[in-house]
Symmetry: D2
Subunit: 234 residues, 4 copies
């Protein structure tokens, strides 16, 4: 297998984050695993050859700058940024607090800008690169109970679109995966014991879609792609 | 003319804000004029019978809470909230700073939440009320040069949609006007001297649409309505 | 009241069609009432001063040409076209027949083109006019059981958008009302006896929105406007 | 390479149709090549092992029924339907004729229904299958000069969505590729000699996206995917 460059997974957790890390490590990338604390990364660093974990608060400009500088110097130039950091406070407009609203924006939107700004320059210089945002149903619709989450995800989608419109022509493939359903996790399984297997989105399948997006021919790039279980009502 | 209740215009400037204030004052409302400083409100307070100006930083929870408490005690219960506060830093993802990105969100999105949370409770208790957000082209699309503005407006739209989905049934008409074009202002005229009259959106026409939205029969409410000049290419 | 010109309601039935006719007759227009047979128009012709009924099959080029020629010669130049003809065969892709699919397209889409082509020329010459399409939820989404209806309504919306983009600059306001809910009719009431009043869209309210669209200032036209009951889940 | 079942390409021409046929033949499928006349299929039948050409007018129920019966009996059960038939009459609402409007609908929309209805039953019985529609920019937007084409493509998209919503749960992956740009053909190259290579969409890349859609894990299916050249302004 061809040895590839560095892929950063921002927001490594037990679901899509870990699956993305596995998929890109399996595909030959050296993977940087970003999460708030080492605990969330679990044993991924040991499991994946060449992978390296970094504690990073994606909502902090200083933390992001420090982390990406370390990645560049320790692992090399970044070819792929997979932005999976997310936060899901649910509640309607009356029950959410301004603090929850802001914190949702900080993780889903602001962090997406901060991490992107770290990689755009070098990718432009190289004339190539991929930036994949992991979105959600809420990226497209503001539901009654997603008064904090949906605005943050809609802003992330809008940022992704703005970036795609200015960066594609520089060879940087900015795109968005709309995860439209419930991801298969220990936590979600426990909360929805009555649901069949077919109800859940397999993180490995989301990661396969991200992988495919990063391999598309530049003459036919996709911007926005859903990942939705076949049994979902939509 | 029937005397109506209180309408709040958050974000009074020389364009849509002033026009909204005039339209609702002309329609019998007592209008509260919110802006950062008295200067922006100009002579509107004198011009409009019963209108009253308030210095308010819509991005500050304390300032918003203080202002709305004053309005309630000085003018009475709020029937209409017209959220017109906006900020238009333009630039692509590489040229904007995180500070500009945040400040755009704070005025367009966070302030929309803060002001809304001040009026929802009393409106619910009354079983009636209108909350109108003034959006922009960027509410729907992230253009290459609106990397700061579009995410903030998209988040505002998503918040409005979430609110509509939870508050309509309580009798509160939450809606959004997508201002899709260049508003007719001294500033915009000066910057685009070659454009004909027909190129510009008249603020009074935007205000008419807001007025109409606030008078719609509840059996046929609109959520999202464009205000676009007939000569615009879209 | 100022005497206005001619408004054509294509597709007069007991719901939105009759309400549109009443609203525009009440506003001073001479109204041409188009329906397949005189029976559907009921007593509207007698009820509305100056109104005149026409038998018209909107899906037939000859019938449409004959009808509009008669309107022009008998009532005068047409200022407003309200296209309300619609047909609602429901069923999923397996249960509908190609004939139902075609007939839905013929009434909702093809007829919209035929009637529009009759009025565009004179409206352009006059530099003014309004063409309002009455759409539905299905204009935006293909539901599992609207395999015949949704494609026809989506095509109508796309045609309206294409027309707006080429005709607005000639002074013709092409727009679309998305009726998103169940219209209040004897038939729908009988079928849904358990629903409260607030569940239904009042045809008069839809007609008010059409009226408002035809009076908008050209500097701030709307293209697409919902008519949705406040209690609707969306 | 594993031998797979039958893939039908409806609408084989020198661009996407031929590329789809090559991609799926290369992937192990027996490919049925549908076009109005043998001439359009060129030498594909000879080039692709096991492929077979069929003359078919997709807008005719009889022709479609006859063709699919022949495919089933000669090649076997159909696993994949790639609906690529399309027609691109361009013109604004005033310049197109009703005949062009209808013929565009017949090829892009009606034919999509007719072909789909031929394969759904057996795919449901098998609990698996893929139906991929090849859309266009016009699937999403009605441009001023696509008054005939856009409504047909919007209707096709709406039909695809309706089908996806009812058939996914039966194991049939219905999806849509939005080809947003100019496909690289002898004809388009000749018409746009000044454009660089990067301006054109490579048919092979569109076919790769179709292939990928047909291999997605059912826990994370995509419905709508763009194929857009990186240099495109959108």
């Amino acid at each position: 297998m061809e040895q590839k460059g560095v892929a950063v997974v921002a927001g490594v957790g037990p679901g899509n984050g870990a699956a993305l890390a596995r998929r890109f490590a399996g595909g030959g990338y050296t993977v940087a695993l970003l999460s708030r604390s080492a605990q969330t990364r679990g044993s991924l660093e040991q499991e994946l050859r060449g992978a390296r974990g970094y504690d990073c608060d994606v909502g902090s400009p200083e933390s992001v700058a420090r982390t990406f500088a370390a990645i560049r110097s320790q692992l090399g130039p970044i070819e792929v940024l997979l932005y999976n950091a997310g936060s899901g406070v649910f509640g309607d407009v009356e029950s959410i607090t301004p603090e929850q609203f802001e914190s949702s924006w900080r993780v889903n939107t602001y962090g997406a800008l901060l991490c992107s700004q770290q990689v755009i320059g070098p990718m432009k210089a190289a004339g190539a690169g991929s930036i994949v945002f992991i979105g959600a149903t809420a990226s497209r619709r503001g539901g009654p109970r997603s008064a904090a989450f949906a605005p943050a995800k809609a802003a992330q989608r809008s940022l992704a679109e703005s970036m795609a419109r200015s960066l594609w022509r520089a060879g940087i493939h900015v795109c968005l995966i709309v995860v439209d359903g419930v991801v298969d996790l220990e936590r979600t399984r426990a909360a929805m014991r009555d649901k069949p297997d077919s109800f859940f989105i397999k993180p490995a399948a989301v990661a396969d879609t991200a992988w495919m997006l990063c391999r598309q021919d530049a003459s036919a790039w996709s911007f926005e792609v859903e990942a939705r279980p076949f049994g979902e009502t939509w």
